[in-house]
Structures are given as C-alpha cells and as structure tokens.
Amino acid sequence: MQTHTYDVVIVGAGGAGMRAALESSGRARTAVVSKLYPTRSHTGAAQGGMCAALANVEEDNWEWHTFDTVKGGDYLVDQDAAEVMAKEAIDAVLDLERMGLPFNRTPEGKIDQRRFGGHTRNHGEAPVRRSCYAADRTGHMILQTLYQQCVKQDVEFFNEFYVFDVILTGDPATDDDVRAAGVVAYELATGEIHVIRAKSIVFATGGAGKVYKTTSNAHTLTGDGMAVAYRRGIPLEDMEFFQFHPTGLAGLGILLSEAARGEGAILRNAAGERFMERYAPTIKDLAPRDIVARSMANEVREGRGAGPNKDYVLLDLTHLEPAHIDAKLPDITEFARTYLGVEPYTEPVPVYPTAHYAMGGIPTNITTQVLRNNTDVVPGLFAAGEVACVSVHGSNRLGTNSLLDINVFGKRAGIAAAEYAATAELVELPEAPQADIEAELVRIRAGAGTENVAAIRKALQESMDLNAQVFRTEDSLIQALKDITALRDRYGRVGVSDRGTSYNTELVEAIELGFLIDLAEVVVVGALARKESRGGHFREDFPDRDDAEFMLHTMAYPTQPGDGVADSTVRLDYKPVVVTRYQPMERKY
C-alpha cells in the first residue's frame, strides 16, 4: 500500500474533472485520479453542442435560457442553480474558445449557434439558436481542449487508478463533524492499493448509463462516484430520473445527436408519418427528450413501428443536402453507415430510445459542496458534472445543458476545493482506511465465489430495460426490485477467473457491477415511491404530474436490508425544490 498527500484530489478526468483541475492546480497542490486516460472519458462522445445565450446569431438572453431549463426539467429544477448556470454559460463558452476550442463560425467569424430541443426564444415562442458547437464533435473538442490545457499547466494525473472508496471521519447521518479525509484507489497496472489523503476531494466520475442494457454510455460509465459516496452514507438525489435519448441506433444504443433534428431531420413511423406533429404540435421533433422518447415508444407499442419486428422508428435526413450533412453531422452519419450499414443520404435511419443521462446524483449546493442531508454539507467534499445533482436538470435535462453543467460547475468545484484547502488542515486518517475495500477485493479475486460477473450484469441490465425504462408501473418496478434483490444475493458469491494482480480488468468489472446493483436499486425504489409522472419518469398508473405531493427532490439513503422501502436497502426522504421566478405550469410544447 502507498499513501500520498495533496491539497486537492479530483476523482475523474472528464470535462468536469479537468475543468476543475485547471482552476485548482494553479491555486493548490492538486492530483487528478482517473480510471481512464483523460482523453478516453465519455465527455468525448458528446456531439451536439453546449448552449449559452451569446446571441451571436439571433436575439437571446440568459433569462430565457433559465426559463427553458426550468420548464424542460418539469419544474423540479432548483431555480437558483439554473440561473447561475445560464448566466455563467456565456463565460464558460468564451473560456473554452480562448483555450483554443475550434468552434464552428458564423460568416463574421464569431462562434456559430444552432437550435436544440427545448431551447426557445421568449419563454417558448419558437426555437432559438443557442447551442455552440464544433460539427457533431463538440464533446470531443471540449475534452481535447481541456486536456491540452492540463498538459500546458502540467497537471498531475494518476491514470488508470480506480477510486473504490471515500474516507470520511464519521457517519454522515449522525456525525455533525464529519469530514472527508481522502480516497482509496486501486492501481490497475499493479493491483496495488493507494490511500490518497487530501483536504478537498472533488468527485467528477460521470454517469451510470450501464445500469441499463441499451445505452449511449461507455462500458466504463458505472456510476462509481455515486455508489462510493452512497455506501458511506451520503444520500443520492433524484436517481429515478434517467433520460432516455430518443435517437439511439436501433438495437445498439449508439447515439445520433439531437443536432440531426436541429438541422432538420424528421422522425417518421412505418407509414412515413411525421408523428411528432401529433404529440407536440408547436415544436414537433424538437420537443424535449422525454416527450419525444415516449412518443416513439408509443408509436412502436401501438404497432406503427418500422422494420421486420416493428420495433423502431425512422430518423429521416434524406431531404437534407448531402453537403450540409457532411458539414454539420459527419460523425453521426458515419455511425449509421458503419454500424447499421444504412446510407443516411438516401435511407432513413432506424432509431429507438437509449439510456443516456442520469439527472440525479450526489446532491450539492451551487458551490458544489456535497450535502449529507437536506441542509448540511460535508466540509471538504465536492462533486460536479454528471455524478452530481445541483439540481439544474430537474426531472429532464435539456440537450446541450450537460456540457454546460460540467464547465460551469467543474470550474466552481475547482475554485471551491482550492479555496477550502487553503483554509483547512488535513484531517487525521481513521485506522486502516483501506481495509474494507481490500477485503472486498480479496473476497472476489481470491475467494471461492463461482457466480459470473457478466451473467449477473446482463440480467440486471435486461431487467432494468424491461421494467424501469421509458414506461414504468408499480408492477414492473416491483419486478425490477425483486430481480435486483436476487442478483445482489448472487453477487455475494461472485468470483473471477483472473487471479493475477496486473491489469486485472475482470476484477474491476466485478467491483463496478457491485456499484451498478446499488444504483439500480436506488433508481427503482425512487421510481416506485414517486406516484406521479414528471420529466424522464413516467408512471403509466399515475400519468399526471402531481405538484401537491411530489414537487420535491427524492433523497435516497442506504439502510439495512429489509429496512427500506418495500423491503429494499433504500430509505427515502424528500427535499423542497428551490423556486425563485417561475411558478410551475403545465409543460406543453
């Protein structure tokens, strides 16, 4: 075992982690710990854009952007946080441009902007051009640009180090003086354990899409940061709200950005009907994602799906100029060619909703400090990016608001962590902080378990796709919970065939699976208790939004098996939504 000491340790080197590192490394001794090489992070997969009311191509302002974010999130957004994000968006984009990000340009040489779902002028009048972009590789450019700046600033990275535990000085539920003392990491190359002490810890580990089978998320997006914090007693907020992106390549889940529809592509059913005209007469194909995804699933359910099994709909780009497609959507049209053998110039592309984004996560305030209940923070613990829930996305995130979130709150986290480290002392480490995770690693690597990691994961993901996807009911969720409980039991007997210490990727997959099981349970229990439909969470047995009962954030806490909701290991509480300017209204588009 090795021990290291820093002022600030940032866990995760995606957009949020590196944006934080750029702020903190100049102010405090900083290390970034990442299970992937920074440029492998899934921020690089983001396609469509990052929005800010620059008003480069038409009238726009941050207040309209705030409104769209709140309405898009079906009023579960904390409005103070949305306002911060929309205001700071403008600098966030300009920061990136000054760092060298090659945005597409207007004829005047300014940053170009395009339309994106749910972004409107003057409180819903018409779509507005707000998304700043670099072809359909905006996330790639953000990730590369931030990494380039990290190289320039000589940021210190621990690459291929997996953080499997966070060290707290007490129980966040009962201990008012609880502090964060460091993290425990596993070095993939050698199998060695590292305890990394720090005054400030920033979690920026991204999403948890692998809870589902059909997803746009990377294999490595297993919600590690969320699960690690949760296991130590930190609540998770609003986890039942998962975004299903309408246009995943059918059967594969690989994303085709909403930018396609922003550039004019149209969704059609088997009969060729532009069915979104029925569901969202005003903004049609550019309605928010939850609405489009459900409309698509409904077309399929009612027998209007395309293909031999009638199990997908079609994204039609054939009326767009090939040259326009090549200039604006080169990558995603190549995905269609490579993976489905479909030529988007001439053929419509088979698509179906894919699990895309976790609206929920580790609760934080607007300075990114982690909350351990509805009001109190854990000093020294911060979170930003998809792992966190500020909450700027409420129950449904608008497209382009996440690349924005990681930049705005990543920056805030870096500053806050460094400032805290400047005033705080290092906390004493508890006795043998690595013991728990070490025991777990030994159990799996050297124990007698025979259950197969891949088999359990597949069963989990299939149950989640079947029971907790676009449409949910009491019955389907109870089934999912049963499945999860049975799989957790099998996980207790999990084993691996690789008993080595070097690059034991099977072992890390086993640990990641443990995280997925915990998170799936939190998603399902939250969904079961939320007897309403809002944003990404749709209950067929409770199809309406119920503001009287449920205009509240879910806060999920771990508890003893059997003590939680419906005999689960999850206890639920609720937190009020921050409302400043906008009273809830019906969400129509």
Partner: protein
C-alpha cells in the same frame, strides 16, 4: 396534420441478422507467471452480422476466459482505447465489423507494435503520450485575452479541421516502420497534433513547434510509407498533415 405526401419509402427492411462461426486467434501475454512469454490462443465463437471485433473479445472475456485483458470504453470509435493489430493491420476493435473480415480463416488480434506489451492486448501508452506532450499541443497566444471570442473565419477554421479529429488512439504511430525501429521518433500522432495548432490562425507558437519538429527525431524521419493514413480510424490524412508540416519548416509559411 401528418405529412404523408412528402414521406420517403417506409421502413428499410433489415431482415434477420445472420449468425456465423468465427475463430479468434489472440496473442496472449501474462506478466504474472514465471518467465512470461507471448503465446497464441484460439477461441471459437458464434457471432452475428452486426458484431464487431470488440464484441468477439467481450464474448471471450465474459463467457470463456475472464483473464483476457484489453482496453475499451466508448465502443463506437471515439475514445481511442482499443487500437489493436487485427489481421496484421492497426484498427479500432470497436469499429471493425467481423463481416468485413475474412471469417473463413482465424482472425488474428495482436497488441499494437512498438510500445511495451503489459498484458495481452494492453500496451504501455506512456511513451506515446510523452511524444504528444513534447510538441506543445495547446494554443499559444500573447498579449491580453480578448473580452469576447477571438474571431476566426470559416476558411481559417477549415484549414486545420482534419487534424482536430484525432482521438490519440496511437493506431498511426504504431503502424509506422520508422517508429518500430526508433522509439525516439515523435511519430505521426504527435505531428498531427502539432499540425492542429501550427495551422490554427489564432495560435502564435508555430515557430517554436516547427523548431521542435525540425529535430533529428522529428518530421524528417518520416519516409512517407502511408501506413499511418491507412491506419487512422478517424480518416485523418496523416501523411498529408506531415507533408504540410515539412513544407512549413522549409518555407516558414503557415
């Protein structure tokens, strides 16, 4: 109402996806045994028409031999984790469809060449990233930051578009015969990333970068074998980028 009139022909019929047998012949290396040595191992699998080499590797790892080690993350060609030598050519496993290979013969998969093998298909990427860092791969400017964005015309932006696509997968560098024999050579990927800044109208570090690349381990080692351009999964014209950098060193115009 509905727009039936301008609708295209409905539903491309994708039909049943055919399945087939394939043998994967993998180069294995386990550093944890005594006297570790590379060896070949074969696995026979039933796969489907839309499966990629990465799916085959996962099938082996998940159903047959969990100890098989390889890197992967995004599974659709954008993170650069899984460059490997497939039937003798560098490719991304997640972007190579099995049906595009000759499945009547075993498909060979080896680690990319020229970087130290750590385990099975995993190589040490540090030397690769070290060369990348040496070319100052970041925007260099002088003077005050502008208060809004720097202006750049669409033409100026297009000048370096191709090389912005790089995902640092190392397929190019590890397909280069010069790099195989001389690990000190910067390699195509580093030059691609230097190109990305040299030809960016906003950048003022071109002269410094050209000096670095004019070094004995720099661009002049390139013998224009085109392996790199063929290998690049992002379709970057790597050889052309290197040629442009060479020309810029000679003419000092960029």
């Amino acid at each position: 109402m509905t727009a039936l009139a301008d609708a295209p022909e409905a539903a491309t019929d994708m039909g049943e996806i055919p399945s087939f047998e394939v043998t994967m012949r993998l180069e294995r290396y386990d550093p944890d045994v005594e006297n570790p040595q590379a060896r070949w191992e074969e696995f026979t699998l039933t796969m489907h028409g839309t499966d990629r080499v990465l799916d085959a590797l996962h099938k082996i790892k998940w159903d047959q031999d969990g100890s098989l080690a390889f890197r992967r993350s995004c599974a659709h060609g954008i993170c650069g984790s899984d460059a490997m030598r497939i039937n003798g050519k560098n490719r991304l496993a997640c972007k190579t469809l099995l049906k595009d290979l000759d499945t009547s013969k075993p498909i060979t998969v080896e680690p990319i060449k020229g970087l130290p093998v750590k385990k099975d298909l995993i190589v040490d990427m540090e030397p690769f990233f070290a060369s990348y860092r040496e070319v100052m791969p970041f925007l260099i400017t002088t003077g005050n930051q502008p208060s809004a964005e720097r202006l750049q015309s669409a033409e100026q932006r297009a000048r370096f578009d191709d090389t912005t696509k790089c995902i640092l997968c190392a397929a190019c560098t590890t397909s280069c015969p010069v790099f195989w024999t001389d690990g000190q050579y910067f390699g195509p990927a580093a030059i691609v990333n230097a190109h990305r800044f040299i030809f960016d109208s906003r950048d003022e570090g071109g002269t410094q970068r050209l000096q670095i690349l004019n070094d004995k381990e720099g661009v002049w080692r390139c013998r224009t074998t085109f392996n790199c351009s063929e290998a690049c999964p992002r379709g970057i014209e790597v050889t052309k980028a290197i040629a442009e950098v060479k020309r810029a060193i000679v003419t000092r115009t960029f």
